[in-house]
Amino acid sequence: MEKNRIKADCLVKTFTRNEKKNKKIDINAVDGISLSIGEGEIVGILGPNGAGKTTLLRMMSKLMRPTSGMVSIQIGEKEITDDIEVKRHIGYLSNNTKLYGRLSSRELLRMLGVLYGMSKEDTEKKIEEISEILSMGSFIDNRIEKLSTGQTQRASIARCLVHDPQVYIFDEPTLGLDILSSAAIIDFMKKERGRGKTILYSTHYMEEAEYLCDRILMIHRGKIISEGAPEGLKAQTGKGNLRDVFAELIEKEGIADEH
């Protein structure tokens, strides 16, 4: 928590939608969000569908350019803002980051090693290590299209690990997984936090967020409506669990909007 790792300054993303009556309407999917996350911290993003979670995470991982605002990463004394350089230090995972089905996991990881500018020896060593951690030994040489859902998810995580990034950005990593697989992912995140890694992730599972996160951001209509440790949020609203906190905040926002 002492040192800032990744920082976002007043991010705005505007999409232009064609609406009826010959009008083009600008929608701010993300509307001026600033945040900074320290080393060894897990931050969870909660919010209803369409709140702007995915857009925010895509901008944080430099997949999408913000309409305004800036994302930077602190490595040592250096503050990095260049898109390509920032990507080197981020491991991004979402439901849309599918793997090349016709390659094997090992081939994929080797290719990534070259693309991240790692030496051959380092890559091979890392692959062995990852294979061990995620117990991929039995299927690492099979074509990815032939793997089961859980194996595919493990291969996806392996993809984020190869370059040993300082920051993980996960967009709903446990969505649609069984208890065992999602427990493995939660376990993995906890371990990585222990190694001083920074994790920013979005989820719909409140219990999971409550259990895992050091800090929670509630997002609604592109804005942070509440922020704090799970305990603090509960105390603030006087509710017993995060689910009720969430429901209450959204309701309040809705009423505030109508006025």
Partner: protein, 708 residues
């Protein structure tokens, strides 16, 4: 670093593409296995056909008042053949002295003479294929007149007719010789006063090259296109469909590196498959050549002489594969799925093939301009190389222009891959026409896809039905065409529950917008006249055509002509172009883009190369006014005035000539041009100024409404 990244990415793309069955089938199985199989199969079919021909017996009936002279000749011929067949069946060539006859194709046949007396109705006999040819002959003015009846739809009858004609030639010759002899003259002297012989100065390599030049370039183009098509789809639309695009974007790789590696992969696979095709076809050609060589003594070829041609062809294949890959990828990058990409690629293939055909138009030479036209230039270059017509500048221009086009396309592509709307965009503006009608929401304007569909449907219908109506019913037919233009889009608009006022721009507008429109069109007419005359002088032949068609239509009563040619289009065409198309395009694209699309479509719709630019400009000007006025009514007025003016020029030439003598001059003098342009520009300027004022008022109205 960058080359290492690109190398890795290319390796990955290659692995990815090659591990797919479809690519392997397209690349290897088709050229290496399917072509030879098809070829050998085709050869066997040909052999079967020719063997079935040999056994053919033709039945011919002759009913002539020539004492049987012609029948005897026919019988003689048929008998001789019969004899030779009997004696040398299956022996190949016949070398009997006196010569059994062979027809032009070297096939044997027999003739059975059918008794003409037994045939009562020769037409029926021919139709029932009881006989193949019926010959009747009668004396007319002291000469024998033979009529040869045959059934052109029956193959046997057609062949038999050819034989009869051959016999007639001989028959005639014999009679001629007889007459000459009877007159006591030398037959040879009279019949062959001069002797001549063909001597081909083309080397045997050149004649082979010209034959290959007719086939090879097109084969190359097709095979390259087929080879690149699949990987192009796979690496762009396929990657997006499989969801790996977002993955690769998380990597520290620039979009240019990404595009270049994809492009190199596609081009490389294209080259490989083109080379496989060439080798496969070359192997077949060599095989054929060997077989022919054994059978007949043809001239020998020196393969070495083709070496420069082969080298340049290879270079051309490389350059063309760069071009085709880049262009195909530009198209497929817009697609979100395989299916969509396939839809996009079909028209592209048609365009490429059509452009390729230019290379086969006789008399088209590889000039500097032609060398710049993609596809056609490759065809022409290969053709020229094969007949040993080597022009180094042309070679350089062709190769460089292909590479330059590829580079441009790649630059464009890397811009696309940067734009997020393509990466993360949702497929908006889809077809509503085929949705369940109850699912459609009321109001709004048609989607762009709907409009494209309607426009292509209407234009195709007009192309067929419209021109037929016009030919059959003249002016009324033109009116019918206009009704098509009105009702087809209207049906779709109503069916998809669109808002009529919004779709067509039926809105009140200030008087100044009408006035501005009038000035603008009045200024536009003389300017367009200058442009049209300039264009007509470039394409003199087609211009005459246009005038004659137009004149025929104008020959009606002035009022009805005005109604059909001026008023109906002013309403119907405006509703389609400045109404539906413009408003739909405006929703999706920027205003300037929308106006240009409308103008281009309006130009194309008139389906004439000469009128393309003038009508396109007209469409542009009218569309601009419709946009400024935010209403279709001034556009209708302008369209009416423009068309009415043309009607008056054709219908009342005397009166119009006294007012505007310049319109009827054969050629425009320089002073005329300057005058017309000057007047035109002044009027256009006034029109624009008035429009500016009108617009401000319109805006004020809107603002007031907003406040209310």
């Amino acid at each position: 670093m960058s080359t290492k990244i690109i190398k890795t990415l290319v390796k990955k793309e290659m692995l990815d593409v090659f591990r797919d069955k479809k690519t392997v089938i397209m690349m290897l199985v088709i050229p290496v296995i399917l072509y030879p199989l098809i070829f050998i199969g085709a050869m066997q079919v040909v052999a079967m056909i020719s063997s079935s021909m040999e056994a053919q017996n033709y039945r011919i009936a002759v009913d002539a008042e020539d004492d049987g002279a012609f029948s005897r000749m026919l019988a003689e011929k048929g008998q001789k053949d019969d004899g030779s067949k009997a004696s040398e069946a299956g022996g190949g060539r016949t070398e009997e002295s006196g010569g059994a006859e062979e027809d032009a194709d070297g096939e044997n046949y027999t003739i059975t003479l059918v008794d003409a007396g037994s045939i009562t109705d020769y037409e029926r006999a021919l139709n029932d294929e009881e006989i193949d040819v019926y010959v009747s002959g009668a004396m007319q003015n002291g000469k024998m007149q033979y009529d040869i009846y045959y059934l052109s739809s029956a193959t046997n009858s057609s062949y038999a007719r050819n034989i009869v004609l051959d016999v007639f030639d001989e028959f005639k010759e014999e009679l001629t010789e007889e007459k000459i002899r009877a007159a006591g003259l030398d037959v040879h002297e009279i019949l062959e006063p001069v002797l001549y012989e063909n001597k081909d100065t083309a080397s045997s390599e050149q004649s082979l090259g010209s034959i290959m030049g007719a086939v090879l370039p097109f084969m190359l183009i097709i095979s390259l296109m087929m080879g690149t098509m699949y990987p192009a789809i796979d690496t762009t639309a396929g990657e997006r469909e499989r969801g790996t695009l977002e993955t690769i974007l998380t990597l520290p790789v620039t979009s240019r590196q990404l595009i270049i590696s994809k492009f190199l992969t596609v081009a490389l696979i294209g080259i490989i498959s083109a080379l496989l095709n060439i080798f496969s076809m070359g192997g077949l050609a060599f095989y054929m050549y060997q077989i022919m060589d054994m059978q007949t003594e043809t001239q020998s070829f020196e393969i070495a002489k083709f070496l420069p041609a082969i080298l340049v062809c290879m270079l051309a294949v490389f350059a063309f594969s760069l071009f085709v890959s880049a262009v195909t990828m530009c198209v497929t990058s817009f697609a979100r799925s395989y299916k969509e990409a396939n839809n996009y690629i079909t028209p592209l293939m048609l365009v490429i093939m059509l452009t390729g055909y230019i290379g086969f138009i006789p008399n088209i030479e590889l000039t500097q301009t032609m060398a710049m036209i993609p596809v056609a230039n490759i065809c022409l270059l290969i053709k020229n190389m094969l007949i040993f017509k080597i022009d180094y500048t042309a070679i350089a221009v062709v190769l460089l222009s292909n590479v330059a086009y590829a580079v441009l396309a790649i630059l464009f592509l890397s811009r696309i891959y940067d734009s997020e709307s393509i990466l993360f965009g949702d497929g908006k503006g889809g077809m509503q026409l085929f949705e369940r009608r109850s699912n459609l929401q009321k109001g709004g304007v048609p989607t762009v896809s709907d409009v494209w569909f309607v426009v292509s449907l209407t234009i195709v219908l007009i192309l067929y039905a419209g021109s037929m109506l016009q030919l059959k019913f003249g002016l009324a037919g033109v009116f019918g065409t206009q009704l098509l233009i009105l009702f087809i889009p209207l049906f779709v608009v109503v069916y998809t529950k669109r808002d009529l006022c919004m779709t067509y721009g039926f809105r009140k507008t200030g008087i100044k917008n009408f006035l501005g429109g009038i000035f603008l069109i009045a200024g536009f007419i003389p300017i367009n006249l200058v442009i049209s005359v300039g264009l007509v002088s470039l394409l003199p032949d087609s211009a005459e055509n246009v005038v004659t068609v137009f004149d025929e239509l104008m020959s009606g009563n002035l009022l009805s002509v005005l109604f059909v040619i001026a008023l109906a289009p002013a309403v119907c065409e405006e509703m389609m172009f400045r109404g539906m198309i413009f408003h739909a395009m405006k929703e999706k694209y920027r205003i300037s883009t929308a106006i240009v699309i409308v103008a281009v479509l309006f130009g194309i719709y008139h389906m004439s190369l000469v009128k393309l630019i003038p009508t396109g400009l007209l469409g542009f000007v009218i569309c601009y006014v419709a946009y400024r006025a935010d209403s279709i009514y001034p556009a209708m007025l302008m369209h009416f005035l423009n068309n009415a003016f043309s009607v008056l020029i054709s219908c009342c030439p005397e009166k119009m000539e006294s007012v505007f003598p310049v319109l009827y001059r054969e050629t425009l003098r320089f002073s005329d041009v300057m005058q017309l342009l000057g007047i035109g520009l002044i009027l256009v300027g006034i029109g624009l100024v008035i429009l500016q004022k009108g617009k401000i008022r319109g805006r004020e109205n809107k603002m007031q409404k907003g406040i209310e």
